[in-house]
């Protein structure tokens, strides 16, 4: 049975907007302004984390928006409007809105060996190692923003072709790509046969009014959302009007080989899934769990006083190597060793139940089943995100009224006290999300098995250990949020 799909580009106004060369600038610019304000706020605003707009917007509002709305509903919608690559891309193209063939920079090709998301995995782990500092020290968030929005992307845009930064390095892009595969939106070609017969390939090479895919995707081969940044260049480029932006119900992204089998799934995406599913638990424990030692150990700098001057604030800090090693060890070991080992054991069990002589290799089962962690960890993150938003969201209302700590009260909300919202129903909302995630995951396991095994009974037997793993994970996450010891993080 054909799945429901509706091409949004059939709406004439939307198509007209998307076809405009100014489209990207129009959707990025408002976020760019917000970023500049946040950057200033990080350095001249309150040095106290829960009074600083940059810290609050980045780590509460943006994170919650990403996990609750933008990614699960919009896929890579954030990438479409993200200000991180803006400066670099404007410089590279030497224009904000035009198509310019003579670009700035060295225009190097990205090494073939690095055509995966391992660098994004490591980048996310590096950010996570410093999460205790980033979420409490505005200067740290400020430095992170300078690095991730100005210095590093610009450097990569000037060294390499296209959006190498977004595709291979950005720490956020990796998990957005992973979770975008379950989003009810997709960019695909309308008729692949039309593309295969067409020699121009403007969508990849670029056309007179559009750049070739900045994300190194080949639209005719697109069968997963993972690496399509929804920049809409291919829509502008296609002379045959063969690109659709579909609203969809369901999707095969988690079960199919990339590019219709022309590319093979590696271990980079499964490890991204391990990282995300493990960190959803670690973050929950750090921010809300009943283990003060974990909070302490995540705080790898030893600054206990505040000054008005951000340079003084940085100089007052001293790195605590013991904590860095301990917390770094917890983050890197649990995500890269512990979780994959547990998963490998369950995969072994699954292979044993399916039959050792089955044609599916252990590696293939390990890789394919890892995609069950996508809905499982996404919903764990949603439970985390809704908690931090409802419990700490009122801090944002106060901080936005005086973003630079100048004694302003722009919106009259400066004196709103910290007020956790909906605490009575929050555990039920979280419980609902987590249980929904379990059902969604079991369905995903069923579909993965169906795609891998030829007989129903074999698929069923192979699924069993994975369902048990999903149950154990769900029990753990439920215990974090609904069990004893959840403490408000304000």
């Amino acid at each position: 049975m054909a799945r429901f799909k509706y091409d949004l580009l059939k709406i004439p106004l939307l198509k007209k907007i998307v076809m405009s060369r100014s489209f990207q600038f129009i959707v990025i610019f408002p976020n760019f302004v917000v970023f500049i304000v946040l950057l200033a706020s990080a350095f001249v605003g309150s040095p106290v984390g829960n009074h600083n707009l940059a810290v609050l917007v980045v780590w509460i509002l943006w994170w919650a928006a990403l996990m609750l709305v933008l990614t699960p509903l919009g896929g890579r919608l954030w990438c479409m409007i993200c200000p991180m690559p803006a400066i670099g891309e404007w410089l590279q193209r030497k224009t904000f809105t035009r198509k310019n063939d003579k670009q700035l920079g060295l225009q190097r090709n990205w090494p073939k060996k690095l055509d995966n998301i391992w660098l994004q995995n490591f980048a996310f782990l590096i950010v996570s190692t410093f999460i205790g500092v980033l979420t409490t020290r505005p200067w740290a968030t400020g430095i992170m923003l300078v690095l991730l929005v100005i210095i590093l992307p610009t450097l990569f845009f000037l060294l390499f072709k296209r959006r190498v930064w977004c595709r291979y390095i950005c720490p956020v892009s990796g998990f957005i790509g992973l979770y975008s595969m379950v989003a009810p939106i997709e960019l695909r070609v309308k008729d692949r046969e039309v593309c295969l017969k067409h020699a121009g390939k403007e969508c990849y090479r670029g056309g007179p009014n559009a750049y070739g895919c900045p994300w190194y995707e080949f639209p005719q081969n697109l069968n997963r959302n993972a690496y399509c940044g929804l920049c809409m260049e291919c829509v502008k480029a296609c002379p045959l009007d063969n690109i659709a932006l579909n609203i969809r119900i369901g999707g095969d992204d988690l079960y199919v080989e990339p590019w219709h089998g022309l590319k093979k799934k590696g271990l980079d995406e499964p490890f991204k899934a391990f990282i995300m599913s493990t960190l959803a638990i670690i973050y929950a424990y750090i921010f809300t769990g009943p283990y003060p030692w974990l909070k302490d150990v995540a705080n790898i700098f030893n600054g206990e006083t505040f000054s008005k001057n951000f340079i003084d604030n940085i100089l007052m800090e001293t790195l605590i190597p013991d904590r860095l090693l301990t917390f770094g060890g917890i983050v890197w070991f649990s995500t890269l060793v512990l979780m994959p080992t547990i998963f490998a054991l369950f995969t072994l069990l699954s292979k044993a139940l399916a039959g050792w002589r089955d044609t599916q290799s252990f590696k293939k089962m390990f890789i394919n089943y890892s995609y069950m962690l996508v809905p499982l960890s996404l919903t764990a993150w949603m439970a985390f995100a809704i908690y931090i938003l409802l419990i700490n969201g009122t801090y944002i209302l106060a901080a936005v009224s005086d973003p630079f700590n100048y004694g302003w009260d722009l919106l009259g909300t400066k004196h709103i006290p910290w007020t956790p919202i909906a605490t009575g129903i929050l555990p039920y909302i979280q419980g609902g999300i987590i249980l929904l995630g379990l059902i969604w995951t079991i369905n995903t396991i069923k579909n993965i098995s169906k795609h891998m095994f030829d007989t129903r009974s074999r698929a069923l037997r192979a699924s069993l250990p994975m369902v048990i793993l999903a149950l154990l994970y769900t029990f753990l996450v439920l215990n974090i949020w609904l069990g004893p010891g959840v403490v408000p993080s304000g």
């Binding site: 060369r21 100014s22 600038f25 610019f29 760019f32 302004v33 500049i36 304000v37 200033a40 001249v44 309150s46 040095p47 106290v48 009074h51 404007w90 224009t95 904000f96 809105t97 035009r98 206990e304 006083t305 505040f306 000054s307 008005k308 630079f404 700590n405 100048y406 004694g407």
Partner: protein, 146 residues
């Protein structure tokens, strides 16, 4: 056809120009707000006497201030650690000092004498019921003849 193309490219150049102006305005706007604030602070400092007071558990630094009667005094009060208060009841001043924030109080002392200022927001004590810490966090303002 050529005319249409050139009109189109002219339009695109204009949108590029508008985009450039918007980006520059963003940087300049934010820079201006920050610069303006710093200038105001410096102007304040030039106008009269500006005294920086830092509150920390459990003392003000400095805890003794001498000013002249009739001279405009600006107190810039900050906290190093937790939320403190600054109460100088002789001149009707009572402010909450959050860590990292800067509270600016301007007044003209119209009487001479020695006046106590103290912390007006409970900021802890070495051990419960000790009567120390917050309860003895105080300082003195001495106003002399100008």
């Amino acid at each position: 056809m050529a005319k249409r193309t050139s009109r189109k490219s002219r339009g695109i150049v204009i949108t590029d120009l508008i985009a450039l102006v918007l980006v520059i305005l963003t940087f300049v706007g934010v820079f201006f707000v920050v610069y303006q604030h710093q200038s105001t602070q410096e102007a304040l400092a030039k106008e009269g006497v500006v005294i920086h007071i830092e509150a920390k558990q459990w003392a003000f630094s400095p805890d003794e201030i001498v000013v002249k009667k009739g001279q405009k005094v600006t107190l810039v009060i900050t906290s190093r650690d937790v939320t403190h208060g600054f109460m100088l009841s002789a001149f009707d001043i009572n402010e909450v000092i959050n860590p990292g924030s800067e509270v600016i109080v301007t007044f003209i002392p119209d009487k001479t004498g020695t006046f106590e200022f103290r912390c007006s927001v409970y900021c802890g004590e070495p051990w419960p019921g000790s009567g120390m810490g917050h309860w003895v966090m105080r300082g003195y303002l001495k106003v002399i003849e100008g």
